[in-house]
C-alpha cells in the first residue's frame, strides 16, 4: 500500500481534478439544446403546452359570437313571425313576392292550428279542466269530431264570461243561444278558434287577416261585396246556426281562412263604410338591415388588421426565436371572389445561418486575411409592401376558404449582424458585428398563402392565414436568402358605402 501522507494525497487529486479538461462532445450540447427548446416552447409539443390556453380562448371567442348570432337570430325570427301575424301591421303590407308566400303559409298553418285548438276547446268545457300545457295526444280529425259533438250537445257546460282565461279556462262567447252559447256576437269557426291563438291574435285582427286573403294580397273590396271589416263583425245569420250533423259541421270547420278570402259574400243589410286607402309602409328596421346586407355582400372594399409570429430563417432551417409581424391591408374586389390586396407589414425578424449562407462585404473584400466567419446571427426590422391577389375558393354561409399569392418589397431597417468565428480569441478578427440599414429591395419575395375566414357579423370577420415568403433575391447587408413563414390572425372589416 502506498504510504502517502494526507496532504500529498490531497494535492495529487486536487491537481488532477483542476487540470482535467474533458473534450467537448457535440452530443451533450444537442441533448441540452433539445431541453432548452422545450423550455422556451420551440418544439411543437412545448409550443402547444405553452399556447393552448390562448388557442382555446381564440376558438371560444368566435364560437361564442357565432352561437350568439345563430341563436339570437332564431329568436329574432320568431318575434318577426309573430309580428307578421298581426294584421294591419306594416310588415304585412310588404308586397314582396317572397313575403306573400310566407304569409299564405303562415295563415294556412294558423288554420290547421285552429282546428286543433277547436279540439282543445272541448276539453275546456269539460267539468274536469286539465291544464293547458297538458299534451294532447289526439289526432286533429278525432278531436274535431268530439269537439263538434260537444258543441251540438245541449248539456255542454259553458263557463260564465266573467271568469278569467287564466288557469286554462276558455270562454265561448261567440255562440248563439241556440248553439248553447250566450248569444254574443259570433264570428265563424275559424275566428272562434283563433281566440285561443297563443300569439294573442284577436278576432278583429283575424278579420283583417281574412281580408288579406290566402296570398297575402288584400282583395278588392268591391268584390267582397262591401267592407271587409263589416264582413267580419256582422251578426251571425240565425238560420245558418241551425243544428246540423257532425259531418256537415266538420266540412264547415275545414273551410280555411285562405278559402274564405276568395269568396264573395252578399250581405242583406250592408253598411257602406268609407274605403280606407292603404298607404305604402314606411321602411322598417328589418328592411334597412336587409338593404345594408345586400350592400355589404356587394361591397368591394375591405380593411384588415393582422398579427403573426414571424419565423424567419436562412434556407428554411435553424429557426430562431420567432419575431412579430403586424399588418394593415386594404382589399378591393375586382371581380366576385377575387381581391387585390396591398398595404403595409411591419415585422422584426431574427435569423441564423452559417457563414456560407451570407455574402458579407467583409468576406468579399480581397484584402481580408482574417478567419472565416463560422456563423452569423442576423436581426432586422422590415417594412414590407405586399401586392397580392386573393381568391375565395369556397364560400359557405359565414365561412370562406381562400388562397392568395403575390409579391412583396422589403425595406430593411435596423439591421444587426453578429459574427461567430471558430476561434473567438483569434487576433486576426477585425470585425465582430455590423449595424445599419440597406433600404429597399423591390419585389424581393414571392408570397404564398391560404386561409380561412369566419364572419362574426355583417361587417366583421376573423381570418387565420398561414403564409410563406420565398426569396426571389438576396436582401440586407449580409445578402441573405431570407425565408419567412407564420400565420396571420386578422380582423377584417367591410365598410358599407352608400
Amino acid at each position: 500500500m502506498i504510504e502517502l501522507p494526507d496532504d500529498e494525497l490531497d494535492k495529487l487529486f486536487r491537481k488532477s481534478s483542476e487540470e482535467l479538461d474533458p473534450q467537448f462532445d457535440p452530443e451533450d450540447w444537442n441533448s441540452l439544446k433539445k431541453r432548452l427548446d422545450e423550455t422556451d416552447g420551440k418544439t411543437p409539443a412545448a409550443w402547444f403546452r405553452k399556447w393552448w390556453p390562448l388557442g382555446l380562448l381564440l376558438l371560444m371567442i368566435p364560437g361564442g359570437i357565432a352561437s350568439y348570432y345563430l341563436f339570437g337570430n332564431e329568436e329574432k325570427n320568431q318575434v318577426n313571425e309573430q309580428i307578421q301575424l298581426v294584421p294591419g301591421s306594416k310588415v304585412t303590407e310588404n308586397k314582396s313576392a317572397a313575403q306573400e308566400q310566407t304569409n299564405a303559409k303562415i295563415i294556412e298553418k294558423i288554420d290547421k292550428e285552429a282546428l286543433t285548438n277547436a279540439a282543445q276547446e272541448k276539453e275546456n268545457t269539460e267539468p274536469s279542466i286539465s291544464p293547458r300545457s297538458e299534451k294532447d295526444t289526439r289526432t286533429p280529425e278525432s278531436s274535431l269530431k268530439s269537439d263538434l259533438k260537444a258543441v251540438s250537445s245541449k248539456s255542454s257546460k259553458t263557463l260564465p264570461r266573467s271568469l278569467s282565461k287564466a288557469g286554462g279556462v276558455y270562454l265561448e262567447p261567440n255562440r248563439s243561444k241556440r248553439e248553447g252559447g250566450d248569444g254574443a256576437l259570433s264570428l265563424n269557426a275559424d275566428e272562434k278558434v283563433h281566440k285561443n291563438d297563443p300569439n294573442g291574435t284577436s278576432a278583429s285582427e283575424l278579420g283583417a287577416r281574412q281580408a288579406i286573403g290566402s296570398n297575402g294580397v288584400t282583395p278588392n273590396r268591391t268584390e267582397m261585396g262591401g267592407n271587409a271589416d263589416a264582413t267580419n263583425m256582422s251578426p251571425v245569420n240565425v238560420q245558418q246556426n241551425e243544428v246540423i250533423s257532425a259531418d256537415d259541421q266538420l266540412d264547415r270547420m275545414q273551410i280555411t281562412v285562405s278559402n274564405l278570402g276568395n269568396k264573395q259574400i252578399n250581405w242583406a243589410n250592408r253598411i257602406d263604410y268609407p274605403v280606407i286607402a292603404v298607404t305604402e309602409a314606411e321602411p322598417d328596421a328589418n328592411q334597412e338591415k336587409s338593404k345594408e346586407s345586400i350592400e355589404i355582400s356587394n361591397a368591394k372594399w375591405a380593411v384588415r388588421f393582422g398579427y403573426s409570429p414571424d419565423l424567419s430563417t436562412v434556407g428554411m432551417k435553424d429557426f430562431t426565436k420567432p419575431g412579430t409581424a403586424v399588418s394593415l391591408l386594404v382589399e378591393y374586389s375586382i371581380v366576385p371572389r377575387l381581391f387585390v390586396q396591398t398595404g403595409a407589414v411591419w415585422s422584426s425578424k431574427g435569423y441564423y445561418g452559417d457563414g456560407k449562407s451570407y455574402k458579407l462585404p467583409l468576406m468579399q473584400d480581397p484584402h481580408y486575411y482574417g478567419p472565416d466567419v463560422k456563423s452569423v446571427d442576423g436581426f432586422c426590422k422590415v417594412l414590407e409592401i405586399p401586392l397580392n391577389l386573393r381568391y375565395d375558393v369556397l364560400q359557405i354561409a359565414r365561412s370562406s376558404i381562400f388562397a392568395g399569392g403575390g409579391f412583396s418589397s422589403y425595406h430593411m431597417n435596423k439591421e444587426k449582424y453578429k459574427y461567430s468565428f471558430e476561434n473567438e480569441m483569434d487576433p486576426k478578427i477585425k470585425m465582430r458585428s455590423w449595424n445599419g440599414k440597406t433600404g429597399w429591395y423591390w419585389f424581393s419575395h414571392l408570397n404564398v398563402s391560404a386561409g380561412y375566414e369566419y364572419k362574426i357579423s355583417q361587417k366583421l370577420s376573423l381570418l387565420a392565414e398561414p403564409y410563406l415568403r420565398v426569396p426571389l433575391k438576396r436582401v440586407g447587408y449580409g445578402k441573405v436568402n431570407l425565408f419567412t413563414t407564420g400565420m396571420w390572425l386578422s380582423l377584417r372589416y367591410t365598410p358599407a358605402f352608400r
Binding site: 500500500m1 486536487r14 441540452l32 480569441m425
Partner: protein, 189 residues
C-alpha cells in the same frame, strides 16, 4: 483553460439573456471542460456527469438574470454545478444506492510510478468511491469546504464528515496502490 476575455464573455452572457441559442452554444462550449471536470468528480460515470452538467447549464441559462456580473462567472458556474451534483447525490441517498470497492493489495510502490498516472485515471479513482466518500472527499479536498459546511450540506454530523473523508483517503490509497502495481508491471515487463 485560458481565462475567457471578459468583453467576449459579457457579449455571450448578453446573448444568453436574450435566449439566443448561438450564444448559449458558445458559452456551453467555452466552459464545457471546466464544468465537466467538476461533475466528473462528483459522479461515478461520464453519463451521470453529463446529466448533471446539462442540468447545471439549464439552471445557468434560466437563472442567468440572477447572476451578478461584477463577480466571477466561473465561481458562479462551479457553485451551480456542485449544488446540482449535491441534489443528485441526495436523490441517490434516498434511493439507497451504494456499492463498495474491492480492497487493494497492500503493496509499497515507487512514487515516480504514481506521477505517471493520468489525470483521467485519478479522477476515475474518485468516481470509484462510494457516493458518501466521493462527495465528502470532493467537497473537502478539491473544492475546499469545511467539515461544518459539508455536514450542513449533506445533513450529517461533523464527525461523520471527518470519518468519511478519512475512509475515502484510505480507499484511494488502496486503489492507487493497485493501479501503481499494474503500471509498474507494465513498465518493467
Amino acid at each position: 483553460m485560458p481565462e475567457y476575455n471578459s468583453a467576449v464573455l459579457h457579449e455571450l452572457l448578453d446573448g444568453c439573456l436574450r435566449k439566443n441559442r448561438r450564444s448559449q452554444e458558445l458559452l456551453y462550449k467555452q466552459f464545457y471542460g471546466y464544468a465537466m471536470s467538476i461533475c466528473l468528480r462528483y459522479t461515478r460515470s461520464r453519463e451521470e456527469a453529463k446529466e448533471i452538467l446539462n442540468d447545471g447549464f439549464l439552471k445557468v441559462f434560466t437563472k442567468l438574470d440572477s447572476f451578478d456580473s461584477d463577480r466571477s462567472f466561473k465561481t458562479w458556474l462551479s457553485r451551480i454545478m456542485i449544488n446540482t451534483a449535491l441534489d443528485h447525490y441526495r436523490q441517490e441517498v434516498r434511493r439507497d444506492v451504494f456499492d463498495d470497492v474491492e480492497m487493494a493489495e497492500q503493496v509499497s510502490v515507487d512514487e515516480t510510478v504514481i506521477s505517471k498516472i493520468a489525470h483521467e485515471e485519478l479522477v476515475g479513482l474518485i468516481q470509484k468511491l462510494t457516493p458518501s466518500y466521493r462527495i465528502v472527499f470532493s467537497l473537502s479536498v478539491i473544492d475546499g469546504y469545511t467539515h461544518e459546511e459539508i455536514a450542513d450540506q449533506l445533513n450529517i454530523s461533523v464527525g461523520a464528515s471527518k470519518s468519511n473523508l478519512s475512509r475515502a483517503r484510505e480507499k484511494l490509497r488502496e486503489m492507487l496502490s493497485k493501479i501503481s502495481i499494474d503500471n509498474y508491471d507494465r513498465v518493467t515487463r
